[in-house]
C-alpha cells in the first residue's frame, strides 16, 4: 500500500516537472550562435549536406571515437563474461515456423542492403554509421532467430571490427598530418555538396563506423547466442 502511494507521489512529481517544462517553453525565433555557425558554415567548410553528420563525424569527431570505444569495451566485456562456457553440447532443436524461415530468407538481404545504404549516404540523408550498424545487426539477429543453432565466426567479426577501428584512427591521424587537425575530413577533395563522393573523408569514416558498430553488435549477439545456460 505504502509502496503504491510512493509510486503515485513520484509520478505526480514527474508530471509536475514536465508540465512546468512544457508550459514554460517558448520556441526560439532564430538559431542561436553555435547553431547558426554550423548551419551557415557546414556546406562551405566541409561539403556535407547533412549538418548532423558533419557535427558528429568532423566537428565533434573525437567524441564519436569515444562513443565507438565505449561500445567496443561493452562488446569485449560481454564476450569476456560469456566466453567462460562455450563447450558444444547440442541443444534440442526447437522447430521454427515456416513463415519465419521464408521471411528471413527474403528480408535479410534487403535489411543488410538498407543498412549499407544508410551508412554510405550518411553525409547526404538522415542516419549514418550508428543507425546503419544497428540495422545490419538486426539483420544478423533475424538470421539467428530463424536458425538458433547457426554459428557465426567470431574471427571474421572481430577482424572486420579491428580493421575498421584501425583505419578510423589512421584517417584521424592523416587529418592531423595533411589537413587542419585530428579527424579533419579535408584530406580528400570536398567535391560538390549533395553528391555521393563528396564531403571529403566523411563517407569513408562513416562507413568504417557503420562496419565497426555492426560488427560490435553482431559480436555481442553471437556471444549471447553461443552461450549455454548461465
Amino acid at each position: 500500500m505504502i509502496k503504491r502511494f510512493i509510486a503515485v507521489v513520484l509520478l505526480a512529481a514527474f508530471a509536475a516537472v514536465f508540465a512546468t517544462l512544457l508550459f514554460g517553453y517558448t520556441p526560439d525565433t532564430e538559431l542561436n550562435l553555435t547553431a547558426r555557425y554550423y548551419a551557415e558554415r557546414t556546406a562551405a567548410d566541409l561539403g556535407a549536406a547533412n549538418i548532423v553528420t558533419a557535427i558528429v563525424v568532423t566537428y565533434r569527431g573525437l567524441d564519436t571515437l569515444g562513443e565507438v570505444t565505449v561500445l567496443f569495451l561493452a562488446a569485449s566485456i560481454v564476450g569476456l563474461v560469456l566466453a567462460q562456457d562455450t563447450h558444444k553440447t547440442p541443444r534440442a532443436r526447437v522447430p521454427v515456423g515456416e513463415l519465419l524461415t521464408t521471411g528471413t530468407r527474403f528480408l535479410v538481404p534487403l535489411i543488410l542492403l538498407l543498412g549499407v545504404y544508410v551508412f554510405v549516404n550518411g553525409h547526404l540523408t538522415p542516419g549514418g554509421g550508428f543507425q546503419g550498424g544497428a540495422i545490419i545487426a538486426s539483420g544478423i539477429l533475424l538470421t539467428l532467430l530463424a536458425d538458433p543453432l547457426k554459428h557465426f565466426g567470431h574471427g571474421l567479426i572481430s577482424a572486420i571490427e579491428s580493421v575498421a577501428g584501425i583505419f578510423y584512427v589512421a584517417i584521424g591521424l592523416a587529418g592531423l598530418l595533411l589537413a587542419g587537425g585530428f579527424l579533419d575530413n579535408r584530406i580528400l577533395p570536398l567535391g560538390n555538396v549533395g553528391e555521393l563522393f563528396s564531403a571529403g573523408a566523411i563517407p569513408v569514416i562513416y562507413s568504417l563506423i557503420g562496419l565497426k558498430v555492426g560488427a560490435e553488435f553482431a559480436s555481442i549477439l553471437a556471444s549471447l547466442s553461443d552461450t549455454e545456460e548461465l
Binding site: N50, A92, V94, P126, G127, A134, A137, L141, L144, P148
Partner: protein
C-alpha cells in the same frame, strides 16, 4: 497540414500511452514485446514530427528494431529451456 499537426501529435501520444499500458499489463509475452516495440516506433514518428530525422532513425533502428528482435530471441531461448526441462 499545420493545423492538423497538434491533433496528430495528440493521437500519437495517446497510442504510445495505450501501447505502454498493454506492454505492462498484457498476459501474453509476444503481445507485450510487440507493444513495447510499438512505443518506440511511435516515439520515432514523434521525433520525425519534431524535425529530427537522425534521432528518429536511431530510435527506429535500435528501439523498435533491434530491441524487439532481441526480446523475441531471448523469449525463444527461454522457451527452448522449458522444452529441455520437459525431456530430461
Amino acid at each position: 497540414m499545420s493545423h492538423l499537426l497538434p491533433w496528430l501529435t495528440g493521437l500519437l501520444c495517446f497510442t504510445m500511452l495505450v501501447a505502454a499500458i498493454v506492454a505492462i499489463r498484457d498476459k501474453s509475452m509476444p503481445v507485450a514485446i510487440l507493444a513495447a516495440g510499438l512505443v518506440s516506433l511511435v516515439a520515432s514518428i514523434l521525433f520525425l514530427i519534431l524535425a529530427s530525422p537522425d534521432v528518429a532513425m536511431t530510435e527506429a533502428a535500435i528501439g523498435s528494431g533491434l530491441t524487439t528482435f532481441l526480446l523475441f530471441f531471448v523469449l525463444g531461448r527461454l522457451r527452448a529451456g522449458e522444452h529441455d526441462g520437459e525431456q530430461p
